[in-house]
């Protein structure tokens, strides 16, 4: 009985980590994509009318990248530390 429980734990630990890491990374990536889509559309409109705002728009467009980086870090921690 005890042997069976140990075997189950080992099997779960095998697929939990990559799935968890994948969810962490994918959620960050999807969030980033959605945010960049909206910011990109509005940013393109703004640059079309006021080209001098291009610098600010590029910075704003890059800000959501932090989400996917955070997702990547969490995914790495899941893989390495657990």
């Amino acid at each position: 009985m005890a042997d069976a429980a140990t075997a189950t734990e080992i099997v779960m630990a095998g697929w939990e980590k990559p799935i968890g890491a994948a969810i962490a990374f994918a959620a960050g990536a999807i969030g980033t994509a959605w945010a960049q889509n909206r910011i990109g559309a509005a940013g393109a409109g703004t640059i079309a009318e006021k080209p001098e705002t291009a610098g600010s728009i590029i910075v704003l467009e890059a800000i959501p990248e932090t989400l996917v980086i955070l997702g990547f870090v969490v995914a790495s921690m899941i893989i390495i530390m657990l």
Partner: protein, 349 residues
């Protein structure tokens, strides 16, 4: 629809509208030529330069402002082409079609010259420059209506239905009323849905119908028309002015009394106007206040939801207001009107 791109562009356009400082700079100019040269430092530069080649003086300002307004409206139309917003913008711009047709009919009715009528047209709607020019070439009102019917222009429907009545009475108001009724009923029918955008546009159209009804009543009273025939000028579809209110207003003897019927509606503010607004024979101040009310209502939409049609509609109203103000400034400078009077004439929105 994703309004991100369109609204960002429109916000960019809104940011180059003239601010108070620019108006002050124009107002301190002594005469029309200096106003013209000052306008060259604004986004109107291109049109002023084009106008200066063809016209001089006040005609150049009129030409440039009209051209700029048309160009702006066409820009917006191009931006929203193929999207859901196109229908809403078309509703807004169709008021110019109605205005243009009325101008042509009025011009032909009083036998004004081709050029005189053409200068008053703003081809910002569906009817473009070429169509309006062809309509202008027609010798009389009936031929204009016939040509519109031949080209399947929708506005020919109400005009054709009322042309016999007009032929008997020779009162152009018959045709204009039919045109207004058709326009507003069509506009309301196009925004019958339950969405928030439909609601916004519907609300605005209803307010416009209300202001038209109030103006009509005031004109009826000013011209001492009988209440019975006046009833045929009532436009259905208003938000606060229903048939009963319209009859009640039309049965009053003076604009002041008529306005007192507006208690409990958003138009009660007309009661607070100074006595000069109710001078006998003049209703222009009241009409201006109603136009201002409508303009403010439209412009307020710009500050609403950043991702809906309100931003575009708000901008279109703001641009219209700016062009009106610039025309007032140019005309007052041309006529040598005092600064105080000019300030009073401006649309402060």
């Amino acid at each position: 629809m994703d309004y991100g791109y369109v609204n960002a562009r429109v916000r960019g356009m809104h940011s180059v509208l003239l601010d108070k400082k620019s108006y002050d700079t124009l107002l301190i100019r002594q005469d029309l030529p200096s106003v013209l040269s000052e306008l060259e430092n604004t986004p109107y530069k291109r049109e002023i330069e084009e106008a200066s080649v063809i016209h001089t003086g006040i005609a150049a300002v009129d030409f440039a402002l009209r051209k700029n307004l048309i160009r702006t409206y066409q820009n917006i139309s191009d931006l929203v082409r193929g999207t859901r917003a196109e229908g809403y913008i078309r509703i807004f711009l169709s008021r110019w079609d109605v205005q243009n047709i009325k101008t042509i009919l009025r011009g032909k009715n009083i036998h004004a010259s081709h050029d005189e009528i053409f200068e008053c047209l703003v081809p910002a709607g569906v009817l473009d420059d070429a169509t309006l020019t062809e309509l202008l070439k027609q010798p009389d009102v009936r031929s204009i209506i016939d040509l519109m019917a031949t080209w399947n222009i929708p506005y020919a429907i109400p005009l054709t239905e009322s042309v016999d009545e007009w032929a008997e009475s020779r009162e152009l108001v018959t045709l204009e009323y039919a045109l207004d009724l058709f326009h507003y009923q069509n506009a309301l029918a196009a925004v019958q849905g339950r969405g928030s955008e439909n609601r916004i546009i519907r609300h605005l159209i209803r307010a416009e119908i209300d202001t038209m009804n109030i103006k009509n009543v005031l004109r009826i009273i000013r011209d001492n028309l009988e209440t019975e025939p006046a009833m045929s000028l009532f436009l259905e579809g208003g938000g606060h002015i229903d048939r009963e209110k319209f009859i009640a207003m039309a049965s009053m003897r003076s604009p002041e009394e008529a306005v007192s019927v507006l208690d409990g509606t958003p138009y009660y503010f007309l009661q607070g106007l100074p006595p000069v607004a109710y001078s006998p024979g003049t209703i222009s101040i009241i009409e201006k206040e109603l136009d201002l009310y409508l303009m403010r209502k439209g412009m307020r939409l710009f500050r609403g939801d950043p991702l809906d049609i309100g931003v575009v509609i708000g901008y279109l109203w703001a641009k219209y207001g700016e062009v009106i103000n610039l025309r007032i400034i140019a005309r007052c400078k041309y006529a040598g009107v005092s600064d105080e009077d000019l300030e009073r004439e401006l649309f402060h929105v």
